[in-house]
């Protein structure tokens, strides 16, 4: 009796298997429909805009659209010697159109990014081109300025032909593409971004370490104390957690200022003299201290929830089998808390790496992070494509840690108080 000729049927005669599958599918659709509104909302207002950032960061259509004829005619030019007459002619007509639309200034700014020296020769060309005669544009343009007869400048124009570019990403890593198309580092004294990336990693790493060192003992205490005491102490962890970030930063600004309480205390115990107070704010120290305190609850909570599940009898068993309390702790207790350590450290690191508000207020020049640089380009230089590029570089780092977190801890296991 094989299973094929002995199918189980439901009351209306369909095979059970088919009927079950149908029900299953219906349930799947039902569940998905519940999630759909939020998913759609997040995709439209959040995921797409991040995609838009990606487009902005590589978008280089501006010059391409300003010089359409030139780039068309440049397709046959090999870039070895000066371009042929057709290119000059096309460039002349593109340029005349830009003058009509009063956009030649934008072109000169854009080309100047690629190669210095375009600004003045475009201005000169604009003046002289009014009196150009028809035909033989090559001679006439080259006569305007000797740089127009320099093949390097034409190569620079050609380099802007593609509608997409990864220049902004290179800039974010203090690199650029030189005339020959090689990727090289910028001069040593102008490498600002690499310092920022390294500092961001450094601060995030040490803040994570400090948080871990401080959170471990108190999480242990909270997990082992009787409920009525631990509930009270838990408030000390949760109150900062629920308090506005700006309030907590403000309190550090008061504490760390030169006439502040911490300095008063140092003077009182004779650590420093009154006229030699330590500068703890507007530098790295400020970022470290404030960020550690602000992120500490995010380390305590996952550690606590793991430690809570460890039975105290395990430590007793370890001791009764001959281990000293230290060995019992190290060999039995500590390994059991590793999931909590992983969860806490990843969470704190991920939050620290993108911190903006606190470093901006107490970090000064030496304690700011990459986020501050992104905000600077968004608000001050208005180089939005560069801000987008740096944002995405930061995002890719965060997503790697997020993926790791999801693998190790599971995203639905995030503990919130």
């Amino acid at each position: 009796m094989s299973s094929e000729n002995k199918q189980i049927l439901t009351t209306d005669g369909t095979p059970l298997e088919v009927s079950l599958k149908k029900a299953e599918k219906k349930n799947k659709i039902k569940a998905f429909l519940l999630v759909a509104p939020l998913l759609l909302f997040i995709i439209i207002t959040y995921v797409f805009p991040i995609g838009d950032m990606l487009m902005r960061s590589v978008d280089d259509k501006m010059v391409t659209e300003m010089l359409p004829k030139t780039y068309k005619s440049m397709e046959i030019w090999d870039g070895e010697e000066l371009p042929p007459e057709e290119v000059f002619e096309a460039f002349y007509f593109d340029f005349q159109k830009l003058i009509e639309e009063e956009r030649e200034g934008k072109l000169s700014t854009q080309l100047n990014y690629t190669k210095n020296g375009f600004k003045s020769i475009i201005k000169k060309l604009r003046r002289k081109s009014k009196s150009f005669e028809e035909g033989n544009y090559k001679e006439q343009i080259m006569a305007v300025h000797k740089r127009w007869a320099d093949v390097e400048y034409w190569r620079a124009i050609k380099r802007r032909a593609p509608a997409y570019t990864y220049q902004k990403y290179l800039k974010g890593m203090d690199m650029y593409e030189n005339e020959k198309g090689e990727i090289v580092n910028v001069a040593e004294d102008r490498r600002v971004h690499r310092i920022l990336w390294l500092r961001t990693l450094e601060i995030a790493f040490f803040v994570t370490v400090f948080c871990f060192l401080m959170a471990y003992p108190i999480a242990h205490l909270l997990a082992t104390l009787p409920m009525k005491y631990s509930n009270l102490l838990m408030i000390c962890v949760l109150l900062p957690f629920w308090t506005s970030l700006l309030v907590r930063t403000a309190s550090w600004m008061i504490l760390l200022q030169q006439q502040g309480i911490v300095n008063d205390f140092f003077v009182m115990i004779g650590l420093v003299s009154d006229d030699n107070r330590i500068e703890m704010m507007f530098n790295k120290t400020g970022s470290y201290v404030a960020m550690t305190q602000i992120l500490l609850p995010f380390m305590v909570l996952p550690l606590y929830s793991v430690m809570k599940t460890i039975s105290p009898s395990l430590m007793r068993a370890g001791k009764s089998l001959g281990g000293t309390p230290f060995i019992a702790f190290w060999k039995v207790y500590f390994p059991l808390t590793i999931p909590g350590i992983g969860a806490g450290c990843l969470l704190v690191f991920i939050l620290a790496i993108g911190y903006y508000i606190t470093p901006a207020l107490v970090g000064g020049a030496s304690g700011t992070l990459i986020s501050n640089q992104i905000a600077f380009h968004m608000k001050s230089t208005l180089d939005w494509s560069f801000a987008s590029a740096m944002g995405l570089m930061l995002l890719s780092g965060v997503l790697v840690i997020y993926w790791l977190y999801n693998k190790l801890v599971g995203i639905d296991n995030i503990k919130l108080g």
């Binding site: 999630v35 759909a36 108080g417």
Partner: protein
């Protein structure tokens, strides 16, 4: 945590060192918040404890900064508080509605691609705020919603829903689905079952998610900095501006009010958490 009598001396010493370390860390966590209280009652304009305050001289304390906060002529706190509450309330309603419904779907064992979808829905909580700020700003500018309340509310719904999704799915993880099946077998339709059976049981989770969403919106400054115009200023924006320019005692008065508010929210959240655990039969 009394030590047993037979504990050897060096472990005893170590134990006291451990307790001291814990006390220091707790102090580090909570003490900074308490500096703000007394200084907000300072009669003088400086942000240090005056000699009078150290002597507890009553004349050294005053409510002038609170008066300034409420009645001050050029003070933007009134408008900011109004905006903050309006934005936070609408953002909370939006987050709770979308988040709770989504959590119901995510908790179903039939949900396809659960991990991936969950990761997408939680991402606004994980992605650095500065990146969210830039991305949402581009979107709102295109949609013509920059510098409007609507735009900020929508942005805060994005940032608030992860908290609702997490708390409600956590509550639903201990949910006994046989009660909804029982309701269905007794002739209740799904909507009725949800309103009468499921919602009352998961309500603590929903409310605590809502509190998270409220606080997220109420405290949020990075995204608002990109989106807000002069009309949409909020308390965090005003504090941010104040802290950057000049740390005035009025800010400390506002900060004190915020600490009181967060204490109230914390107490509510804790009571709800305990009630939820009791309801779900998790014994302490």
């Amino acid at each position: 945590m009394a030590l047993p009598k037979y504990t050897e001396t060096h472990y005893r010493i170590w134990h006291y060192i451990y307790l001291t370390i814990c006390a220091a860390v707790f102090f580090f966590l909570i003490a900074p918040l308490f500096v703000i209280f007394p200084l907000s009652f300072n009669a003088e304009e400086f942000l240090v404890f005056s000699d009078g305050m150290k002597r507890l001289d009553p004349d050294a304390f005053s409510l002038r900064w609170y008066q300034d906060m409420i009645y001050g002529t050029k003070n933007p706190w009134g408008l900011a508080a109004k905006n903050s509450f309006i934005i936070a309330i609408f953002a909370t309603i939006g987050s709770v509605l979308l988040g709770t419904v989504a959590a119901l779907g995510l908790s179903s064992r039939h949900m396809p691609y659960k991990g991936l979808i969950m990761a997408v829905l939680i991402s606004p909580m994980i992605v650095p705020l500065i990146i969210s700020g830039v991305a949402i700003f581009f979107f709102m500018a295109k949609a013509g919603l920059a510098a409007t309340h609507t735009g900020i509310v929508l942005a805060h719904i994005v940032l608030g829903t992860p908290f609702v999704v997490i708390t409600v799915t956590a509550t639903l993880s201990g949910f006994d689905h046989s009660v909804t099946r029982a309701a269905a077998s007794l002739g209740s339709n799904p909507v009725n079952t949800f309103m009468k059976i499921t919602l009352p049981l998961i309500l603590p989770g929903v409310i605590s998610g809502g509190l998270f969403a409220f606080v997220t919106s109420f405290d949020e400054v990075v995204v608002v900095l990109f989106l807000a115009g002069l009309e949409n200023t909020t308390i965090p924006i005003q504090m941010w501006t104040g802290l950057r320019e000049q740390l005035s005692p009025t800010i400390l008065a506002v900060a004190t009010c915020l600490i009181v508010l967060s204490t109230l929210i914390l107490v509510t959240a804790e009571l709800l958490r305990r009630r939820s655990e009791r309801l779900r039969g998790i014994n302490q």
